[in-house]
Symmetry: D2
Subunit: 340 residues, 4 copies
């Protein structure tokens, strides 16, 4: 951490900062500039916020040098994290696709969809039983029944289940059925929920918040990991920007960037990113090309009558074509060497 003092600060302000940092167990190196003094703090600075110093008299700016996350950081865990769920693996260099409807609408719907996406090569079945909806008047999901329908579909197809949790009170229920527990974008900083899933033993799929910085996203992963659960899968699903032509702005460059910062696997969700099914296949292909560990794709047997997110859901036939394409792309990628 680096503290830059104001140009007109007093000597005693500088001394006060040095004492404060030393009391916190940090060592301090002092540099006197032409206009300003600079203090370099050395030690476990990830335990402290920059604001601890920013508020002090005579301080102009405080910069963080060390990253504020540690368990999620590649610096402290250089090897890729690999997550194994039943027979499916994420993060081992292969490509994992999670597919299914936005919402579980009925047993027959989810069973039929599961069969279809399995045939096309999906490794996981996704489907929402508890649905976060902007409007209280929209379909809110079938709750426990939805989980039971998912279970049925999973038993028939042997696909592990990925489903969203919205509330700490539902943890035991959801964990009974889910193989991977999803934290949705709107709950990325629901810290109570992060701690709850962090105490559990189910892998967690952590979607990036609508306006979450990459650092905040990794800090949310750190929340989960600091409670003991190290199986976190990141999922980029588009961020909120000034551009409203598509549902969100997919920040695809995060894939190679996040892989520098963390050892956790990262998936791309082109369905929520674009909000338009006809754009999903080419965006999905780009996600493979750039090195994502997998995809999350919304598939619906009858998108025109879906209870939610129909506009961005693929029909099974299009999903099948997409799978063929992304598998080829993944094979193609493996044929390429490293550039850097």
């Amino acid at each position: 951490m680096v503290i830059v003092m104001q140009s007109k600060c007093l000597e005693q302000d500088v001394e006060k900062m040095i004492n404060k940092a030393e009391k916190m167990g940090l060592r301090v190196k002092h540099t006197e500039g032409k206009h300003q003094s600079i203090l370099g703090l050395i030690g476990d600075t990830h335990l402290f916020e920059t604001s601890v110093f920013e508020k002090e008299q005579g301080v102009e700016k405080v910069f963080r040098v060390q990253k504020p996350f540690k368990l999620a950081s590649r610096d402290f865990h250089p090897e890729d994290t690999i997550i194994k769920v039943k027979d499916a693996i994420i993060g081992d260099g292969n490509f994992a696709v999670m597919a299914g409807p936005c919402a579980v609408e009925s047993e027959v719907q989810i069973v039929d969809t599961a069969k279809k996406v399995k045939e096309s090569g999906a490794l996981f079945l996704r489907g929402g039983a508890f649905k976060p909806r902007t409007s209280p008047y929209s379909f809110q999901g079938h709750g426990e029944n939805g989980l039971k329908y998912l279970k049925k579909a999973s038993e028939i197809t042997n696909l592990p289940i990925v489903t969203e949790i919205m509330d700490t009170e539902d943890y035991d229920l959801v964990a009974e059925y889910a193989d991977i527990i999803q934290i949705g974008a709107r709950n990325m900083q629901n810290f109570s929920l992060l701690k709850k899933v962090g105490k559990g033993n189910k892998p967690v799929l952590l979607k990036r918040g609508l306006s979450a910085t990459i650092e905040e996203w990794l800090m949310s992963a750190e929340y989960i990991m600091s409670e003991g659960n190290s199986e976190v899968i990141l999922c980029e699903r588009g961020i909120r920007t000034f551009e409203k032509a598509l549902r969100n702005t997919l920040d695809l460059s995060v894939v190679p960037y996040v892989k520098q910062l963390t050892h956790l696997p990262i998936l791309i969700d082109p369905s929520h990113a674009t909000g338009r099914w006809e754009l999903v296949p080419s965006v999905a292909q780009a996600a493979v090309a750039i090195g994502a560990d997998g995809l999350m794709i919304e598939v619906h047997l009858d998108p025109e009558n879906a209870l939610s997110d129909g506009a961005q859901s693929l029909k099974p036939k299009v999903f099948d074509a997409l799978m063929k394409r992304v598998n080829k792309q993944h094979e193609f990628n493996k044929s390429l060497g490293e550039i850097i």
Copy 2:
């Protein structure tokens, strides 16, 4: 709701949409344009999402004409909502200030702060017992003990308590102590929590999410109200934009705009909006000038040693000067007539 069909859509696509809308209980007016057909849907369209039609073949765009919220809408409830808590009133044309530390740090801290802010004219005591923090390594609040300290301070000063809830599981506990329950920005779309406080009988202070549109904010108010609790207070605390010079970008123009849309009272939080205590007084004054119903202000006896948000907290002396100023501004405002 207005459906615009694609220029090259088939006649049967148009018919299908008409049938679909009619099945949903809506009436349809059909306009054939030079390039495109337009369908006007008439009825209770706030019960449906535009996506119900957007996904259909031949549809180009769907526009909402009616607002998607109803209970929160001024159209259906023209008079201002007035909320009374003990002796304090919000939304009646007077000006309500909630003040106190970001986090409750000790009994003596909160009691002393309460006395100070009461002397200066605050109507409510704010203070966090459960703290949402970006880092798991930051101070997370004193929990139930924090609530007890707040209670003590409230008993001594007779100031009602405003404190944040982070989890549905804590509802009974928080509601036992709080007079107003705060939903923080990061939980604005924690729909489980919205429903929970909506079922309760405590007024709710609903902060705007970091990247929440005004419509989404009012839909979150609608969630609370649709469960039966109509006492919702809005609080703008700055939104997240490309500009990082200050902590957030305060969207102060929302005050007169939101007052057109809804009957709910609205407060401004200049502390979180700017992140810098020295900007708080002038921003607070502007908030009064523009017609807000009150303020939420962070006050700390010793900001330099605060466990959180010290940089944006006022010392009691500055807060006292601020209160004198905003009270004068409020008196001044009352002396002005209506322009429009």
Copy 3:
């Protein structure tokens, strides 16, 4: 400037940076951290970009300590800049209002508007002869004729003229008629135009770009000033964010913040900020309350038939009421002492 080296950089990388900085005329203080080395650079670092070092091997981050602007900085020019144009003054603690139509539509329109806004107390006449429009099919302004009409209105009312320049080629023409030359938001980083007006002797009104940071805005002022013209007036007119309910998001907190950074005066344009005339008066009042040096307001005799921006233009009668209100607010503000 502070260079933070990567945790695994080589000693020779550090040495290379030290040599590089010293060749640039800077002195270097070296701090060795637990994980990383830090170099503090001392001297005229505003002449260099951080990128000069960021690209080097072994460098993790480069932070700027000194501001990148100098002529515009209050550090080097503590007193407020006061700009005098004919009998009107900006920045001397009084309140200056520029008013008039978005576009000059005819001689009679601009003359009549000028009379009206003068009567109400405006100090400057604004009006566009060259109009930046998103669509090539929209009215583009009357060009030189528009300038002549403005001149006529100015001769009759003695109001100085504020009008926009869009192209360096038009400088001589515009400067012949204008008393203050406006650079529009979309040209805030048209560096050729900034240099051109910087070489001239007319005060410049510099609007903040749609997504310009405060620092970029002040760097654009620095461009003008570095060519010799020190008479720059800043104008905040709302920034572009995810929120589309209003035309732009007014960043009103910039007023007290910018006044810390620079000695230049700052105006607020509530017309472009909100895009809705009925919100203009209360936003204008808040701008005065927060300490702006003036306002730019769109006024139109017949907004419903305006050739541009009718929705945000005030009728003279409403403008008159607004002027009464902001003048009272300004008097009220003067009656208040300093808080900090």
Copy 4:
């Protein structure tokens, strides 16, 4: 265009709107809703702005149905635009790479770079002679000399030149040397410059503005085309969002989306999008995978000593590896069939 009237508007307001639209040459279809009246306007509505109606009494919202651009629209020009410059072609299904340094620094630099990028398969040489820089103290480019050096490099390698124009006054000079004229992101809405290049006969590379919507970007293309020059190449280079970890946020999904809207070719600039050279190859590959018509890549012989943008510039060796990869990806893409 669709006009939605307010729920409490008067009958005469509706009539006034109908008359107004009819005077503008539009036909009107009137739908009376339960709460609101809706007017469908039929005809050449792209000639008018929605604001023409928005400001009128009794109007709640105005929606555009037809796109506001015409010449740039695929609706009116279904076939892809193909642009041929010397022997190089853009938009014909092949893949065109423009490469070179950010700034032309010397004759030897640009000649050597040109040879290198040509060897690796670049079809165009890029390099800036006029440089838009945030700071007036940064290197501003060599101007005419820079153009001469580019010419020399072009004569030796036969690569056509792409270079930026910053000012209408420089048009004749730049057009004498350039084969393609670039409009930079900060000038995307410099309408004088758009008209100037629109009157010329050189193809124009139009970068997307930092916070330009896709619609505004295509309207800027329309400006150029409406002056007679139909050879416009779009270039996405990242947009400005809340996320500052990388230089910009690359909006890669625009590729398939823009191809629905327009017939113009589109390139991706991964160098400006990410600001980090080590991310450029994988982002470039994703750009090919998603269907872009080409790339613009910054290449520098000695990035560590570049006068600008060194951090994002590739060394020739890395560029060569990138070219091999994107060529393979392009071949791979051609081997795939259509999904939809």
